[in-house]
């Protein structure tokens, strides 16, 4: 049941509990309980909105930073990852396999702001050994949804057998 709810709300968190109950065939109170439980258990961690900022008249720059770090004795990567993700500018942090350790994505008003963050906050951290910063030029798809303009038209004929 939990999985069914999650699949239904994964791409549309706006859906009402009433509709969810009908669509999945459970009663509304149960749906509400399950969702509450999942929020408490840290399964559902938030309900953000997917925004295409390119279409809004305000400047935002996103950068992806490859970070190499020295893991700390007894704490592995957890401590350093936490020190990084706690910064408000940081949107995403992943621990990676391969040539570097952490992927850090940050959002700033402009390039200046991002380079300030890298130079003044990220790079000087003791266990960070190197950083490589890449600026995002355009976002095409996020969270499984294409960031396209407008709604696509229904091109089917109105009545078919």
């Amino acid at each position: 049941m939990k999985e069914k709810i999650l699949n239904a709300i994964a791409k549309n968190s706006k859906i009402s509990k009433e509709d969810l109950a009908i669509m999945l065939g459970y009663d509304e109170i149960r749906i509400e309980q399950e969702i509450k439980e999942m929020e408490e258990e840290g399964i559902i961690c938030g309900y953000p909105t997917l925004i295409n900022w390119d279409n809004v008249n305000c400047e935002k720059v996103t950068a992806l930073i490859e970070v190499k770090v020295t893991p700390q004795r007894g704490q592995g990567f957890e401590k350093i990852a936490e020190r990084i993700y706690k910064f408000d500018e940081v949107e995403t942090v992943y621990l990676m396999s391969g040539g570097f350790d952490l992927t850090v994505m940050i959002v700033g008003k402009n390039m200046q702001e991002i380079s300030n963050f890298v130079w003044n906050k990220l790079a000087p951290l003791e266990s960070v050994t190197s950083t490589a910063t890449y600026f995002v030029l355009k976002k095409y798809k996020e969270h499984g949804l294409a960031l396209v303009n407008g709604v696509s038209e229904d091109e089917r004929m109105l009545i078919t057998p």
């Binding site: 239904a8 004929m157 009545i159 078919t160 057998p161």
Partner: protein, 387 residues
């Protein structure tokens, strides 16, 4: 000048759906719940395979019965999903949609005057295909009280010495009815006893809710007397690719290949390559889409119940078939007024046979958001009727 037309074609009525289509298409801002095809785009990996086949220059005819790899995948698929065993070499034919397979099967099995039992309401093409093959269509009006299933008694009541074929269109368009294994067993017994062949149109086989589809060909004694028709249109959202198939005893399929070879040559090559990908890697897409249909189905049935539109619960395809008998008007009148007054297009049940009178076909191949808008309007319309 002589009449250029044959008596056969003049006897065939134009599709009832066509007439309604003409009315609807003149209305600019109508919301339609009238389509018989998925709202999903064909999954990208399948489209991409079609594109790749074009890039590779695979733009030639294939062998008449279809690409060998595709036929092999079809047989594997039927085994995997419905426990049907067919040989790809002479028991499988790839066609231009399920429709071509229906036509070809009728042509190779019917002698002039043979009777074909057609449960109604049903998809629009069985009857004219029988007529074009000089057969005699015999409609069996299905009952709402049986949830529009076909019963053994109904078959027995309509069998004559001339009965040769029974069309079995389940999961059903337009009613959404399904036949369980137990329901089919009864029908199978009659067919074996009375020596009747079955044309089982299973194009909606992947779209059943809360139960798996059973093919009548998987029941004892039925494989040798059944042509199974299926295709890619509904399960993989591939209507425009025009690709279906028929499987059955080689004796029949071999002759169908003959019709297909002379009339069609082969099914579209691009579509055949895309279909191989669909069968190899498309199970998850089928699952995803049928889950979405099921949610919309519950949503519609629940909403109709709430607004007092009587509706039996359908367990297949993507249609609900509510009754409008209590409003004291014909299906066509109801549908026309609903269109004019609230700009919602639905299809009158009569487009699928006379026994569809008193019902509407409402499709849920639409997003929940679209369904919501349409439902508000339908409810508004019903309120004005009840005043």
């Amino acid at each position: 000048m002589r009449n250029p037309l044959s008596k056969t074609i003049e006897e065939i009525k134009p599709s009832g759906i066509r007439k309604f289509f003409d009315i609807v298409s003149e209305m600019k801002d109508a919301i339609s719940l009238g389509v018989g095809e998925p709202d999903f785009d064909t999954p990208w990996h399948i489209r991409e395979e079609g594109i790749y086949s074009l890039e590779k220059g695979r733009t030639f005819y294939t062998s008449n019965a279809g690409l060998k790899e595709l036929k092999i995948e079809i047989c594997r698929y039927l085994k995997r999903r419905f426990d049907l065993e067919y040989n790809y070499e002479d028991e499988t034919l790839v066609t231009v949609g399920g429709s071509e397979a229906i036509d070809a099967a009728m042509r190779v099995m019917i002698d002039p005057g043979d009777e074909v039992l057609i449960p109604e309401p049903c998809y629009v093409s069985y009857l004219p295909c029988v007529q074009l093959a000089y057969g005699v269509p015999v409609g069996i009006p299905l009952q709402e009280k049986n949830q529009f299933k076909l019963t053994k008694q109904e078959v027995l009541d309509n069998i004559t010495e001339k009965t040769k074929i029974l069309v079995l269109p389940f999961p059903n368009n337009p009613t959404g009815a399904v036949m369980t294994k137990e329901d089919l067993q009864e029908i199978a017994e009659v067919c074996v006893e009375k020596d009747i062949f079955v044309l089982s149109d299973e194009i909606y086989a992947e779209l059943t809710y809360g139960q798996r589809h059973t093919s009548i060909a998987s029941l004892p004694g039925m494989r040798e007397r059944t042509i199974v028709i299926n295709g890619f249109s509904k399960s993989y959202a591939m209507t425009g690719w025009r690709l279906g198939y028929a499987t059955g005893p080689s004796e029949i399929i071999k002759q169908m290949i003959k019709v297909h070879q002379f009339a069609i040559m082969c099914a579209p090559t691009t579509s055949q390559y895309a279909a191989i990908e669909a069968l190899r890697n498309g199970d998850a897409d089928v699952e995803r889409m049928s889950t979405a249909y099921d949610q919309r189905r519950r949503f519609l049935v629940e909403s109709f119940k709430r607004m007092g539109l009587e509706c039996f619960e359908p367990f297949g395809a993507f249609y609900v078939f509510p009754s409008i008998q209590k409003f004291g008007m014909s299906s066509e009148e109801f549908a026309t007024r609903l269109l004019q007054e609230q700009k919602v297009a639905v299809v009158p049940g009569t487009a699928f046979g006379d026994s569809g009178e008193g019902f509407l076909r409402i499709s849920y191949a639409y997003s929940i958001d679209n369904l919501k808008i349409a439902l508000v309007r339908i409810e508004e319309f019903i309120k004005t009727l009840e005043k």
